[in-house]
Symmetry: C2
Subunit: 239 residues, 2 copies
Amino acid sequence: MSKQGDGAKEGEGFMAGLAIDAVIFGFHDRQLKVLLLEYKSTGLFALPGGFIKDTEDVDDAAKKMVTRRTGLHDIFLEQFYTFGDYSRFDPEPMRAIMSAKGTMPPSDHWLLQRFITIGYYALVDFTQAIPTPDEISDSCKWYQLDALPVLMQDHALIIKKALETLQVSLDQKLTGFNLLPEQFTMGELQSVYETILGKTLIRAAFQRKMLSLDILELVAKKMTGKAHKAPYLYRFVKK
Amino acid sequence: MSKQGDGAKEGEGFMAGLAIDAVIFGFHDRQLKVLLLEYKSTGLFALPGGFIKDTEDVDDAAKKMVTRRTGLHDIFLEQFYTFGDYSRFDPEPMRAIMSAKGTMPPSDHWLLQRFITIGYYALVDFTQAIPTPDEISDSCKWYQLDALPVLMQDHALIIKKALETLQVSLDQKLTGFNLLPEQFTMGELQSVYETILGKTLIRAAFQRKMLSLDILELVAKKMTGKAHKAPYLYRFVKK
DNA sequence: TCTTTATTGTAACATTTTGTTACAATAGTA
DNA sequence: TACTATTGTAACAAAATGTTACAATAAAGA
């Protein structure tokens, strides 16, 4: 299930019963964060979502929606699973939200029907994103993955599955780099890996492995102001 | 897009614009096979498909559909991707099929609308499956993966993506075992791996690796009637 | 019965990858 | 100038994988 897409009125022009939800990951302060919308009327939080126009690619709908919530273009964005259990169906939160907004919807309102949602996850540079609420939410903010608020419907499950997908694809597709600014130290990269995998890695082995992949380019030294050797800044080389 | 689901009339009781397609893999004669339906009126072949009842889990709909086409229960079945490009939309094949069946559908017929399809892949024991056509197809047969007929819409792409998913999950989830009968030789298992990965493996290393995983149980010797040492039959030990 | 043939199971060694420990280099502090 | 904390990397160990070789053996042929 999902938030109101821009300009969605009575569901005209949109694919019925189908939504998109995005797990937008950021990395800051050695922590993985997820972007969530808040609905004060229900006390619930939700993943940013949207709908698919009748003539629109689903990937494009997802991309546009993530751009609206973050202000970012050229985002790493991948579909990971489609959630279609009937038990997901629970119109109550949406009804409460709509009532609080002043409209008492009829029970056959399109937003109160069963939705199947296509899950995407995005990896963004935390320092560049500008969280932006949608029309019916009260806020859009980052939350620590290990301290999430109570989420609407099965959104906690969606986040869990997104993380599992990320863990598997981390080495294989080198997705982790998408969470860092253009330039980063080896320690920062290692901490991204450690946070996503949920375990500590051996520094020497990690550094050797990363350098052996021939995907890092040394940029400069980074003077940290600390009393020890300055780390190098690296940049991810796109093949 | 997809074939007619059992009892689907005018789309009532089904999720609109949503379909399921299954890439059902079998293994026989050292070859990977895929189950396809034929529509003689169009000269086209298609993946087995179906629709989702309004109150049904998508996984259940997929499971039932695969059971209808194979006669098998307890199938290895996994969702792998949802295909949602607008360019998939092409009502012509379905219109031709329906016309050939005697009904000239109005152009707003529900089966001629845009569909987004949820892709599943299944791994079945070739020797146990009983291919069964659906109501509007002329046949249901196995086809070699490397010699597929011309397929409807983007079904060739769907098969390609299913194979890629299978290749990645082969080691990780040990999915390959689901393509073999209960008992099999190490050579048969290796040939499943080689066919799926599209490359030859080193026999000694493969055998050592498989045995080291502690997932194989030795059952008996298999007298092949050939003039050489008889191989052992193994069985996959479910944890 | 004995030899031949083709294939299997596995040992032995080589190579590569990963785990572990150690240490020199160094930016700032005392 | 010594001290501290962290980085980069070498060196060795252990584990995993690649490669070669060979004994075991079921059936066919002499």
